[in-house]
């Protein structure tokens, strides 16, 4: 019975990280009574949502053996774009949301197009897009935050349905959709194939470039969802928002067992990775640990979690 259970976890490939997550949660639950309350858990869910969305996107990309550094900039561009059309009594809610998503889609597709057509490594291409995106966000906003947004727009990041914050609902939906894409569709299977062995995937008749186009476009779209969520949450379109978000997202994916060499990774793992980061930063605040120490603790836990994870994998 126990054996069966562990082998199941091993199949998921995140036995170690799951264990680390549970242990850390238990430690926190014992060290501060404030941690394990419904309101604090909702709180964590909301705070995690944006990073998790980006991490889902970048998980797809990393599974195909690529990388996307432009996430943070895409958050800023799409946020500013959406905010520009979200002033009260101008357009219906669908307009800013649609424009924001379209912006993310376009930048993502641009990444995909350049990567597949030029054969320049994704690291370089998205590094370029990262800088371009940041510049675009500043141009679109004249370097100033865009505020005075409509109540309906602000509901996206600040509202709740039946007591559940709306960002958490978006997070859950995105997780279900992304998991389905990865596990249940042809596209998902092809992502693993391309990342696992690109020449073999090509020789199997898979349109490798199509797969890559899709992956970067989906990543852009998810960044846009994150951008809209962030803009709505802080009720302003900030051109400098999202700086460094790409690193948190990549960290979540890697903590969750996605291999940077491609071919392996799961959405569940990434979700746990994002939750782990969120839980740690939440609890360090609860415990009033100074921010100097917070950074050290965070780094140490990230390394520790990954070490634990790789030890678990070696055993199997």
């Amino acid at each position: 019975m126990g054996n069966k259970l562990t082998s199941r976890f091993r199949d998921i490939g995140q036995y170690g990280i799951f264990l680390a997550f549970v242990i850390i949660c238990l430690i926190l639950a014992f060290s501060t009574p404030k941690f394990f309350t419904v309101s604090n858990l909702m709180n964590i869910g909301t705070q995690v949502s944006i990073n998790a969305l980006l991490a889902f996107g970048v998980t797809f990309v990393i599974i195909t053996g690529g990388i996307d550094l432009s996430l943070g900039s895409m958050v800023a561009v799409t946020g500013v774009l959406a905010a520009s059309f979200a002033h009260p009594d101008t357009y219906p809610l669908i307009v800013p949301v649609f424009i924001g998503l379209a912006g993310g889609l376009a930048i993502g597709a641009f990444n995909g197009l350049v990567i597949t057509k030029s054969k320049v490594p994704p690291f370089i291409v998205t590094l370029g897009t990262m800088t371009i995106g940041r510049g675009l966000a500043l141009i679109l906003s004249n370097g100033r935050p865009i505020s005075n947004l409509s109540d309906s727009f602000n509901f996206i990041g600040g509202g709740n349905i039946l007591g559940i914050p709306f960002p958490i609902i978006i997070l859950v939906l995105a997780f279900l959709i992304c998991s389905a894409i990865l596990n249940k569709t042809i596209l998902g299977r092809y992502m693993y194939a391309v990342g696992g062995n690109e020449p073999a995937a090509r020789a199997s008749g898979i349109r490798v470039n199509h797969v890559k186009m899709w992956v970067y476009t989906i990543c852009g779209l998810l960044s846009a969802v994150g951008g809209i969520l962030l803009t709505s949450r802080i009720t302003t379109g900030q051109p400098n928002a999202g700086a460094g978000f790409e690193l948190d997202a990549i960290a979540a994916a890697i903590i969750g067992g996605t291999s940077t060499s491609g071919g392996t990774g799961t959405m569940t793992g990434t979700l746990i990775g994002a939750l782990l980061i969120g839980v740690i930063s939440n609890s360090l605040d609860l415990l009033n640990v100074t921010s100097y120490y917070q950074q050290v603790v965070m780094g140490a836990i990230i390394i520790g979690a990954v070490v634990l994870d790789s030890m678990g994998k070696e055993k199997s």
Binding site: D11, A180, K184, T185, I186, L187, R189, Y190, Y192, A193, G195, G196, N197, P199, A200, A201, R202, A203, S204, G205, I206, R207, G263, T264
Partner: protein, 497 residues
């Protein structure tokens, strides 16, 4: 009576409950060449991994030069004098020959404690070892410019420089030419005369009988027997390995041929091949023979669209088609099993099932979603049809033996129901028993009316399997021989033309 240098007793190792090695023993004497034989999956590589310290055994004893070795790391064991020349050669391509030979041991070998490198010193030392082996390689040349055979020589020099008294060679001749093989054998004989013991792993019977003194056979993780090479012949050795006699390697060919399916006319690719024209009929097996570099694989890759030809035409069922990518080839019913299984064959991270359905996934889905039920059924069917030995459809392909990996790759191509299959070295690195199964499989495909092109370097294989044989020499087709007229001598004559 020569002295025993290495003795292994009662070695047992299990992986998640399954015994990979069960009470295995091996005794190696000084200065002997000892063949370790067995089909893939017999436990040879697990055995060697334990011996060089990559894995630790569950139980058993290893006695080397009178001392029991226990819980030693790869480094410690290589320092004691056991070295392994791996099948996939492990080198740093950007470093020179000399730098590779002494990699990781710069301090000890050169007696240099400071940490500063003296490349000149390294080069002189390397030259000494290389000339001692009678190998003519410039120690200053970068490793990436060497041929596979030369790299192997460097690996051997590395082992010798390490004062190895036991050298394990895993399939040392799998990627080198006949001339290079004789050079290798000269070195092995030389090492032998100096008292070095060689554990020789190979599937090539002729080599075993030419170079080895003693043969130990493993089957299904169990020790079968150790015999002197002079006591055995090919058939009795095969019988020991597979546990039964194989009288005729090649199954009866299919006699009924159908209409011409594939017709290639005047195919050219600059610097690779020119004026290639041939037909293949339904149910026919066309063998392609030639020396390395004759353009065999290049023709296959051109027809499959991996690197399309410059000009020429390809007709399928009388209709001209354009093939610019593998997708075009697959859409037109062409399947390709590459000679480079690891690079072009399978996706290591995916399971047996996922690899089998990779080229035909669109047939197992509803809309964009994969139909799990359908996919499982298809995979199980293929596993049964091809007799793939795996713990289940969800096992990772990397954990299978070479023969079974090859079956998965063939299965993947078959699943897309091709009319034409190109098999490039279908039995490379596969053991005898599995070879026979692959041959049977190929014949059964031909019987179903599939046109087959089989590229092979093994002449007996080409002669035994093909209905017709196209011989290539330096990118030009020099002959198409019928099954009746073809002989080894005739093929060689055209191949060197």
């Amino acid at each position: 009576m020569t002295e025993t240098i290495l003795q292994i007793k009662n070695l047992t190792k299990s992986f998640s409950g399954i015994k990979a090695l069960d009470d295995v023993q091996l005794t190696i004497k000084k200065g002997e060449v000892h063949a370790l034989m067995g089909e893939n999956g017999a436990g040879k590589s697990t055995f060697m991994k334990i011996l060089i310290g990559l894995l630790s055994p569950d139980s058993g004893e290893i006695v080397f030069e009178g001392n029991t070795i226990k819980n030693s790391t790869v480094n410690e064991i290589s320092k004691r004098g056991i070295s392994m020349i791996h099948q996939e050669i492990l080198i740093i391509p950007e470093l020179t020959v000399a730098q590779n030979i002494f990699l990781g041991r710069e301090k000890e070998i050169l007696g240099n404690k400071s940490g500063w490198l003296n490349d000149k010193n390294i080069t002189i030392k390397a030259a000494e070892f290389l000339s001692e082996l009678g190998v003519d390689i410039d120690p200053n040349i970068k490793m990436k410019y060497l041929s596979v055979a030369q790299m192997q020589m460097v690996e051997i020099a590395k082992a010798v420089s390490n004062d190895a008294t036991v050298i394990i060679m895993d399939e040392p001749t799998s990627a080198i030419s006949d001339r290079e093989v004789s050079a290798l054998f000269k070195i092995i004989r030389d090492l032998k005369s100096k008292g070095v013991a060689i554990i020789y792993i190979s599937h090539k019977m002729d080599e075993i009988f030419e170079i080895c003194d003693t043969i130990t056979v493993l089957r299904d993780g169990k020790y079968i027997a150790t015999k002197s090479a002079s006591e055995l012949d090919k058939n009795s050795l095969i019988a020991m390995m597979v546990g039964r006699e194989i009288n005729n390697m090649f199954p009866e060919p299919v006699l009924e041929k159908g209409e011409i399916i594939l017709s290639v006319k005047n195919l050219n690719k600059k610097g690779k091949f020119s004026a290639i024209s041939f037909d293949v009929s339904a149910g026919e097996i066309l063998g392609i023979s030639g020396l390395m570099g004759a353009g065999r694989t290049e023709i296959a890759e051109a027809i499959y669209g991996l690197s399309p030809a410059d000009n020429g035409t390809i007709h399928i069922n009388g209709e001209e088609i354009k093939i610019k990518s593998p997708q075009d080839a697959v859409a037109n019913g062409i399947g390709y099993v590459s000679e480079d299984r690891k690079r072009l064959g399978f996706i290591p991270q995916l399971s047996v099932k996922q690899n089998l359905t990779l080229a035909s996934l669109t047939e197992h889905c509803r809309g964009i979603f994969i139909d799990n039920q359908k996919e499982n059924v298809a995979a199980d069917q293929m596993i049964a049809d091809l007799k793939i030995k795996a713990s289940g459809r969800n096992q990772k392909v990397t954990h299978l033996s070479g023969g079974n990996q090859q079956k998965v790759v063939i299965g993947k191509v078959l699943a897309a129901s091709p009319k034409i299959i190109i098999l490039d070295e279908p039995t490379r690195g596969i053991d005898v028993g599995a070879k026979f199964e692959i041959y049977k499989l190929i014949n059964s495909l031909a019987a179903k009316g599939i046109a087959i092109i089989m590229i092979s370097s093994e002449l007996p294989e080409v002669l035994g399997m093909s209905d017709r044989i196209m011989v290539l020499s330096k990118g030009i087709q020099t002959a198409i021989l019928s099954r009746k007229e073809a002989t080894q001598e005739l093929i060689m004559k055209y191949a060197v033309q």
